[in-house]
Symmetry: C2
Subunit: 326 residues, 2 copies
């Protein structure tokens, strides 16, 4: 109902009377008035002039369905969006609703009180300065293929950045880097039987406008935001729309069309690791190696110091710059 | 409190007075009397004689912590047991409580109203005639290793059967067969990040006393119970205890000691597939092959009709007898 009032306001550039709205929606004028007030409380600037009616002056910078959907041209991603002002973790919420929600449902929050990075690490996100989004996916695939969804997410992020003339690099498999600073990360989780995925939740955190001093001290030299590294304040809604459009395109190519080519191409072109010396860190070992390639399967091909080549699955290791950097 | 009254009754072969029990537990005699009544309603046969007190005649055939723990010599498996008379699915419940419950917690039910086999198939289980148990596990391992937990479960099941002089065979990876009839199945599910398991739930259904005519008609020629195939009525509590003891032993050998040898040895010795012609059924293909071996990694090694050898992960395929049987 509130959404429909908003829709009417957005469609009418000029003032529209409460009576007209109440006629269109077949509700009382009091109901219209109440919904207008709710919209105002959400940050919508609505001018009301007696005898003329209501006019939408501006929409708030929020990531609700109403605000994002105009930027989406997707088939199934973002057809339903759960939007929160604050939440413990968007991934956690997405997992909670997974069994009863449809493929492509999004959980978005302005703030996370216990956001997580990979392997239980914290993820800092001051209110309203990030894009915190979890995508619920229900691909009919083997659990072994799930790790490549992270590559799809990373490719979609750098392509969306490119549309704002920003060059992001991918630190295989799940971080986006600008100026040697991590500005975005991906945390992919899955629920599965041995040979069939129940669902996947891909959580993405992008630092958009975070200031240097807002990052905890211990990561301040490694973390950055799009604003802090490029000086640009990009439109959140537009960026979110572009990212989701690219994501669905590549996701479909990979999982429906079996076409991983474009994603691998982007993963290589934008890789910050190719040709570099890195430290490969497993559960109970670690070694220095040179990154040779990203294979057609999405694995990292490295060469150890003794010349031996290893293919690395994202499931196996963390990769760090040789001296621990990045 | 009820548990403590039961404990005292079990410790005393002779009559013990309500007053004595109330003194030991430091509660009122009315409280003792109420708990005795609750125990009676659960099926405990308790004789009460005025001036002499109470005596436990027999315990019901239920799989509560009090009834199973005397048979357990485990470190962490079964330290906590959630017991239900009826439930939708023990795996579902185990997943619900997973984040807040400890490693080794069990969910046991006398009946499942929507029990599942692999890939969403149904699992039939008339009340009180099966062992329906889900084990919550929190190993610090790669998701890729989880499939072998199924082999650990299957090995523990055939070893427990052996202790009752029953020869069960393993249809790799997750079924137990007697007389070409499936008498038990395992459904392992996991929640994970790309490179770390959050938790595993291994659900096991064993048909103990089910009669032929209690199975749905369409599976009646493939399904059986221990009773229907061997004529033996084995003690459920003892069987459950033995199974869990073996399971913890092998689980620890594998995940803590990196020793998979014994499990593979059992998997091979008890395999119903080795040397057989089978049909390997993948997501979008199927072929006939001969089973050559179970590798040291727990994979099935088969040879196709053109002579090519394939290593099969349990994640990839279903295996059926060449003509669809078993």
């Amino acid at each position: 109902m509130k959404d429909k009032v908003l829709e009417i306001l957005k469609e009418n550039k000029d003032y529209i009377s409460g009576e007209k709205i109440s006629n269109i929606l077949n509700v009382s004028r009091t109901a219209v008035w109440k919904n207008i007030n709710t919209l105002k409380s959400e940050g919508y600037e609505i001018d009301s002039v007696s005898r003329k009616g209501y006019r939408l002056i501006s929409s708030p910078d929020i990531l609700t369905y109403e605000e994002i959907s105009p930027y989406l041209n997707t088939d199934f991603i973002g057809k339903k969006i759960l939007y929160f002002n604050t939440i413990d973790s968007t991934n956690k919420k997405a997992k909670e609703i997974a069994e009863t929600s449809s493929d492509g449902t999004l959980v978005i929050s302005e703030e996370q009180t216990s956001g997580r990075g990979r392997l239980g690490r914290n993820w800092t996100s001051p209110k309203g300065k990030s894009l915190l989004i979890s995508i619920l996916l229900k691909p009919k695939i083997d659990p072994s293929k799930v790790s490549n969804i992270t590559l799809v997410g990373a490719a979609a992020l750098v392509k969306a950045l490119e549309d704002f003339d920003i060059q992001g690099l991918i630190k295989w498999p799940n971080d986006i880097i600008i100026n040697d600073k991590k500005i975005a990360g991906i945390l992919t989780e899955l629920s599965a039987e041995i040979n069939q995925v129940n669902y996947v939740v891909m959580g993405i955190g992008v630092n958009l406008y975070t200031n240097k001093e807002e990052f905890p001290e211990d990561i301040r030299n490694k973390a950055g935001s799009i604003l802090s590294e490029t000086g640009k304040t990009i439109d959140r809604k537009k960026f979110t729309g572009k990212f989701l459009n690219y994501f669905e395109k590549y996701y479909k190519e990979y999982f429906l069309g079996n076409n991983f080519h474009e994603i691998i191409k982007i993963s290589k072109e934008k890789s910050i690791l190719l040709g570099k010396e890195v430290r490969v860190i497993g559960r109970d070992y670690s070694y220095v190696a040179k990154v040779l390639d990203i294979t057609s399967e999405g694995h990292l091909l490295v060469q150890k110091e003794d010349g031996a080549k290893e293919e690395i699955y994202s499931g196996e290791v963390s990769v760090r710059g040789k001296n621990g950097y990045i």
